[in-house]
Symmetry: C2
Subunit: 410 residues, 2 copies
C-alpha cells in the first residue's frame, strides 16, 4: 500500500503520527499546499516524504499519484476539495478514503424543509464507475462521521433486532486556556468546517417520510436542542441538530426508522455561529477589502488559533458515539450508547496530538490497515457501515484506544 496523505494540518499530522507506528504500508507521501508543512509532517517516519500539492486541481492530484505510484489517496483537507481529490484518485487508478463527503447545497426555495444537493450526492453519483472499475472509495471514515457509522453496523448485527433511531451524539468538556491561565475561545476542529456543518440546514432521516427525497428532510439550524449526558465524566451538554454525513450514510446500509446527528456545541459556540451568520462572516464568497479579495470565512479561521497547535493548552475529554434505540435481540426495548472517549492528556502524552484531531485521524488509519490486510474489501462508493464492524473495533482497541457501551433506560 502506497498512501498519498493530502493535508498536513491538524488531522493530517495526527494521521501521520498514528500510522508511523504501523507496518501495513510501504510509503506515505504527505502532500500540502504548504510544502514545508508537508515535509514537517513527513519527518515523523523514514517511510514518509513531503511534497507540495494543489488539492483543488484534480489533474495535479492525478499527477502526484502517478509520480509516486499511489495505491490509496487519503483525504485530510477541508471538504471543499473532496471532489478534486476523489476525481484525481479515480483518474490515477488509486483507491480513495476520506473523513467527510462532498458538500451539500441547500434547497433553493425551502432550505429549512427540503434537502437540495445532499452531502455525498456528487460522490454517490459516480459510484457505478468506481464499482465497474472494481475500485473502492471509502467515504466518511473519521470522527465524525466514521466511528458512529461503524457503531451503527455493530448495533444492527449484534445488539438490536429492530432499530428505532440511530442518533449520533458527540460532545466534549474541553477547555483551552491562554498563557495567563484564562479560558479562551479556540475551537478544537477546523472552524471553516464547523461553520459549514453548523450553519447548513441540518438534515434528518425518517423512513416513514420516503416521499421527501428518500426520507431525508431539513430543519432550521440549531433545531431540537436536547441535553445529553456524556459518559466518563464529561457530563450533560446541550446538543442540537447539525448537518452531518452519518444521517446520509447510515440509512443506506442499516435499517432504521430515524437517523439524526446532534452535536454538543454549547451556548457560547451557538451564539458565535449565529453572530457570524448575522454579519455574513460565514460566507465563502470573496469580498473586496481595501484592494484585496478574501472570503470572510477564511478570515474568521485565520484569526483563531490553529487547532493543531492548541493541544498543550487544552484539558478535558472528547466523546463520539451513537445512541441507538429500538428492540434488542432479546425482543425487549433497548437504549444503548456506543461511544469512544479520548482524553486530551493521554493523546498529547502518547502522540503529541490533541484529542479531537487524534480521534478523527485514528479511524482512517485503522480502516486502511483493514483494507491493506484484506479484512475489509469492496468496490464502489461505500460508507463504514458497508463493512464488518467487529474487526474495526478490535483493531481500534489494539491501537490503545478502547470503545465502550452504556445501557440507558429504554
Amino acid at each position: 500500500m502506497r498512501i498519498l496523505l493530502v493535508g498536513a494540518g491538524g488531522v493530517g499530522g495526527a494521521f501521520a503520527a498514528i500510522a508511523a507506528r504501523r507496518d501495513f504500508f510501504e510509503q506515505v507521501v504527505v502532500a500540502d499546499y504548504d510544502e514545508a508543512k508537508a515535509q514537517a509532517a513527513a519527518a515523523v517516519d523514514e517511510r514518509y516524504v513531503g511534497v507540495r500539492i494543489d488539492a483543488s486541481d484534480a489533474a495535479a492530484v492525478e499527477a502526484v499519484c502517478r509520480e509516486h505510484r499511489i495505491s490509496h489517496v487519503m483525504n485530510a483537507v477541508d471538504p471543499v476539495f473532496n471532489m478534486a481529490l476523489f476525481d484525481g484518485a479515480y483518474a490515477a487508478g488509486a483507491d480513495y478514503v476520506d473523513m467527510a463527503m462532498s458538500l451539500s447545497r441547500p434547497h433553493p426555495e425551502s432550505p429549512y424543509e427540503k434537502v437540495g444537493v445532499k452531502l455525498g450526492d456528487e460522490q454517490f453519483a459516480k459510484a457505478a464507475d468506481w464499482e465497474a472499475s472494481g475500485r473502492l472509495a471509502l467515504v466518511g471514515i473519521g470522527v465524525e462521521p466514521g466511528l458512529s457509522d461503524v457503531f451503527a453496523r455493530y448495533a444492527a448485527d449484534h445488539l438490536f433486532s429492530e432499530i428505532e433511531e440511530l442518533g449520533t451524539r458527540d460532545g466534549a468538556n474541553l477547555v483551552v486556556t491562554d498563557d495567563d491561565g484564562n479560558e479562551m475561545f479556540a475551537p478544537s476542529f477546523s472552524m471553516w468546517t464547523t461553520i459549514e456543518e453548523c450553519l447548513n440546514p441540518p438534515v434528518v432521516y425518517e423512513k416513514a417520510r420516503e416521499d421527501v427525497d428518500g426520507g431525508w428532510f431539513t430543519t432550521a439550524p440549531f433545531s431540537e436542542p436536547e441535553v445529553f449526558d456524556f459518559p466518563e465524566g464529561i457530563g450533560p451538554v446541550e446538543c442540537v441538530n447539525v448537518e452531518h454525513e452519518e444521517v446520509l450514510l447510515m440509512p443506506r446500509w442499516v435499517d432504521c426508522k430515524r437517523a439524526t446527528f446532534k452535536y454538543g456545541l454549547g451556548d457560547e459556540f451557538i451564539t458565535i455561529l449565529k453572530v457570524l451568520h448575522t454579519l455574513g462572516l460565514d460566507s465563502t464568497e470573496k469580498v473586496r477589502v481595501k484592494g484585496v479579495e478574501v472570503s470572510p470565512r477564511d478570515v474568521v479561521a485565520a484569526c483563531l488559533p490553529d487547532p493543531a497547535t492548541i493541544g498543550p493548552k487544552m484539558t478535558g475529554k472528547t466523546c463520539a458515539g451513537l445512541w441507538v434505540t429500538g428492540t434488542g435481540k432479546d425482543g425487549q426495548p433497548r437504549s444503548t450508547y456506543l461511544h469512544h472517549v479520548v482524553d486530551n492528556e493521554w493523546s498529547m502524552r502518547e502522540y503529541g496530538h490533541q484529542c479531537v484531531v487524534w480521534q478523527t485521524a485514528v479511524n482512517p488509519v485503522v480502516a486502511l490497515e483493514l483494507i491493506a490486510n484484506g479484512t475489509w474489501s469492496g468496490a464502489g462508493v461505500l460508507g463504514p457501515e458497508a463493512f464488518d464492524a467487529v474487526p474495526f473495533l478490535d483493531l481500534l482497541t489494539e491501537y490503545g484506544s478502547p470503545w465502550g457501551i452504556q445501557e440507558l433506560e429504554a
Copy 2:
C-alpha cells in the same frame, strides 16, 4: 471660506448635501481615496469639485490644501486618519474641523482601571502651536461628540448653577428591513468606528478623582447598564458606558462633578461586539489569509451594508442628547435632558440621507457657518463647549431641525 471636505462616505455625502443649501462658503473640494466617489458627492452643487486624496498622508493633505487655497479642512473620514489631516491642515496654514478626536491607546497594565493615551491627547499636545499661530482646530463637532457638548455649555450658562453629572445619552429605534421585509442587521454608522469606541475601555470623568490622570479613569466595556427612556416615541433603550470624546471634552470647559457617555446599543449589538472581540475579528492588525493580508475589522465592515446606502430600507428615529443633573439657577435640584431627534423619514425626504449620518453632518455645517460669519472665533485646539451655545442652537433650528428640553424628576 474654502473647505476641503475629506471623506465622501455617509457623513461626507450628507455634509455636502446640507452645505449645498447655504451660502457661507466659496468652494467645497470633496476629496476621497476613491475619486469617483468624491466626484459623485461633489455633483450636488456647482461650487463643489471632487478630487482624490490619501488621507493617511499629511504631506498629500497639505498639497491638496495648497493647490485649492483651502481655508478650512473638514475631516469626515475614519478617526484613524485624524492626525494626518490635523497635521496636514496645520502645515498648509488651514483651520481644521473634525467630528471625533485622535484615538486612544489603552493603559498597558490596567486597561480597565486607568486611562492610557486618551482620546484627543495627541491633538491637545499640539494646542500651543495652533494657539500661537492664531489658528483654530475645532474638534468633536458631530453627533456625537458635538451637539451634546453644545448642550453642556448651554446647561452651564443658562440652566444650572451647579452641575452634578453631564451624561450624554444617545439611542434610537431604527429598524432596517431587507427587500423581503425581514429585519436585518445593518448598523447606521461606520462599523469600524463603532467597534473602536465600543470595545475600547469606556472612560469616565469624576472631579473628585483628580488623582487619576486629571479625574479620568476607565471601566470594562459595556459597564453600568442603564435603561434610559428616550423622547419622541423612541422609548426605553438599554444604554452602557462607551468610550467617547464628550467625556474628555466637557470637563475641560464646563465645571461638573462627573461626565459619562452611554450609548443605547441594545442586547443584540452588544452580543455581536462581544463575539467579534472573542474571535479577534475586532483587530486592526493584519492577518495573512490565503496569500493576502487584511485587517479583520476591515473585513467585518466590508461584509455589512454601506451605512450610506441603507436609508431607504430604514425606519425610526435617532436621538442624541445630554442628561444634566445638579442644581438649577433657582437653587432647586434639577434633572434635564437636552436632546435632538431626527426622523429617518424626514431626513430621507428632505435630503436623501439617512438620519444618523444627517444628524452627524449637520453640526459641523452649522459650526462652519458660525465660523465663517465670525460668530464663533478662537485659536488653539477647542471643543464645542468653548463657544457660545445659543447661536449654534438657533442656527440648527433655522436649518429645519429643532432641539428640545425635557425636564425629568430631579
